[in-house]
Symmetry: C2
Subunit: 214 residues, 2 copies
């Protein structure tokens, strides 16, 4: 079975998954503190860096395992709004986007796909979560699909009951403003089995797995 997975999704104690406004200088709005503990370890994996393999690090490295495609919201791809300007923007990541798979970017504005040498490609789609997922599963060729965020995108897929697994990381900070993950998702816990663990760093990791009817 091809799973739909969310990984390393960081939220504040008060439930915010990103700041209000994404700009070129602030890719996740004013919520930079959310990602302070998040030093790129999901990309490098447990190898190739001298840093210790902590519980946090071990858990975040499951991000790429068995993933064949990602779906992301437009804000994760770039700070632009409205029609795409002719500015040569190819995402935040330069010529080495960390995804190395096809990525479906949800946007109301059409744009030609982008391809990169490392296996990453961006496919722009005006679609419902269900339609986007069907396309991503096609691109994933039997592997799992990751819902890459931001919070509004994850919330939409949770609301549509399309998520099989979510690794949620609560960061011990408050933000007071921003994009809420849980808005409109009352009672969502009934659809999942939730396991929690805390790490020495102060982060809390949760594993949400779709509940089975057995």
């Amino acid at each position: 079975m091809s799973k739909v997975r969310v990984h390393n999704f960081h939220i504040s104690l008060d439930g915010y998954g990103a700041g209000e406004t994404v700009t070129l200088d602030k890719p996740i709005g004013d919520a930079g503190g959310l990602f302070a503990p998040f030093d790129g370890r999901f990309i490098e994996g447990v190898d190739a860096v001298d840093a210790p393999i902590t519980l946090d690090r071990a858990l975040t490295t499951t991000w790429g395992q068995g993933i064949g495609a990602e779906i992301m919201g437009r804000g994760k791809f770039g700070p632009q709004e409205g029609e795409w300007p002719d500015d040569g923007w190819r995402g935040w990541w330069g010529e080495e986007p960390p995804f190395r798979t096809p990525v479906v970017v949800l946007t109301h504005y059409a744009r030609e796909p982008l391809h990169f040498d490392n296996g990453t490609s961006f496919h722009f789609m005006d679609a419902t979560p269900k339609e986007a997922l069907a396309r991503a599963q096609e691109l994933a060729d039997g592997k799992d699909v990751r819902i890459g965020g931001g919070p509004s995108t994850i919330r939409q897929f949770l609301a549509a009951d399309l998520v099989d697994f979510m690794h949620l990381v609560t960061v011990p900070i408050t933000l007071g403003t921003g994009v809420l993950l849980w808005e409109g998702l009352d009672g969502i816990q009934d659809r999942f089995t939730v396991e929690s663990t805390a790490s020495a760093s102060g982060l809390t990791h949760q594993f949400w797995n779709r509940a089975t009817n057995d």
Copy 2:
């Protein structure tokens, strides 16, 4: 830096990492209970199986990340003792050993290397831990080396202070007999930073990272 790593090493509450005698029917001696919680998830990763991605599962899947070679004791390769019989034995795993990298097998008895289509190869060596590691690092081509067990092999590498990282899993059972991991390793904790966490299944996971002198 190429790290030397131990992963998913299961021990009982009373410190045993394997049973007394390895036979064809009992690959880890009488200590089968140790691996009852261990359903092959380290091989499959988090994908390609319908099972939920629990904390246990997420942690064990770091096993293969960035690994370029393994070192194992003879008992992990087969139940034979003394000179290698001419019996066509190619390890416990048939023609698809899960390693997919070169493996150094420590044995006092010479034998020609074995090669498999999936990238696994076995190289038989009569060597000290330090010599075996030098050879494994050569074979690993810059990637990390995993010390794959059994417990006597891991104990030797720990005693020689050659291990950078160890993921230890304590299974809530007692065995009363078998191969002890800790024998002769008094004070070993002084050389490591240790982080512990428990999972809902009853397992306790520890992350031993070599202490730095900073």
